[in-house]
Symmetry: C2
Subunit: 118 residues, 2 copies
DNA sequence: CTCATTTACGGTCGTCGTAAATATG
DNA sequence: CATATTTACGACGACCGTAAATGAG
């Protein structure tokens, strides 16, 4: 149940058509068929009821869809959090001072921190 | 960034020791090293600062940890939702009637549904 | 020297494409 | 018969183990 297969599932669930979903993902459509089938095997439940003329979600598929979307969104969030930390847009800040006037400024900062947290 | 690698990351982050994490996951510890390294490559950020004597989280690793736990929890939720739908513990209910008295009962049901939803 | 991580290497399985087969309306 | 899904098959890479190499204290 990796992100790739979930994206395949969501695409097919939204298009209700393996060919269009394949175009959207720039993948060959036989692969979508196998991907969905692998997901169904892994979860032990059919996700679509399909003939060559109609594709529709089963109850299990309907149940999975919102969870799949949430998982994909959360994955992006996680990526973003790591990127932010890497680029220093979050996490601990390190501050250095130099020069005679610095001691005064640091003293003021420390006083303000102490008063704001207590 | 599949569930497997996230579990490896969480285990190492919790143990701060590749060997113990490997034991916990019943995996060979060289594989953990490569798994984490692959995750780091994929995310473009180091997750641990490690020597042979000490393993500690980087800011990026610290940022990832809660997201990784959330993703694993959500994955389990998704599995559970599908299992519930498969086993009929959720989703739409189909009811059939047969016999002469059925029509009366169905009429009463429909009346109650109509009055309760409006 | 010892303990822990990493690199090297190999077998097996999953990914993903193209081409042929199958099934539905 | 036309259109859509599935199966067959093959190349490539990922997974995951064992054994050897590397590095820190």
């Amino acid at each position: 149940m990796d992100a790739q297969k979930l994206q395949v599932f969501v695409a097919v669930a939204e298009e209700l058509h393996f060919g269009r979903a394949a175009d959207r993902l720039h993948l060959a459509q036989p692969y979508l068929s196998r991907s969905v089938r692998a997901l169904e095997a892994e979860l032990g439940a059919d996700l679509f009821r399909r003939t060559t003329r109609k594709v529709e979600l089963t109850p299990a598929g309907t149940a999975l869809l919102p969870h799949a979307r949430a998982l994909l969104a959360r994955t992006d969030e996680a990526r973003g959090a790591v990127a932010a930390a890497r680029d220093g847009r979050s996490g601990r800040v390190r501050i250095s001072f130099a020069g005679p006037s610095a001691h005064v400024v640091v003293g003021q900062l420390l006083a303000r921190c102490a008063s704001s947290t207590h």
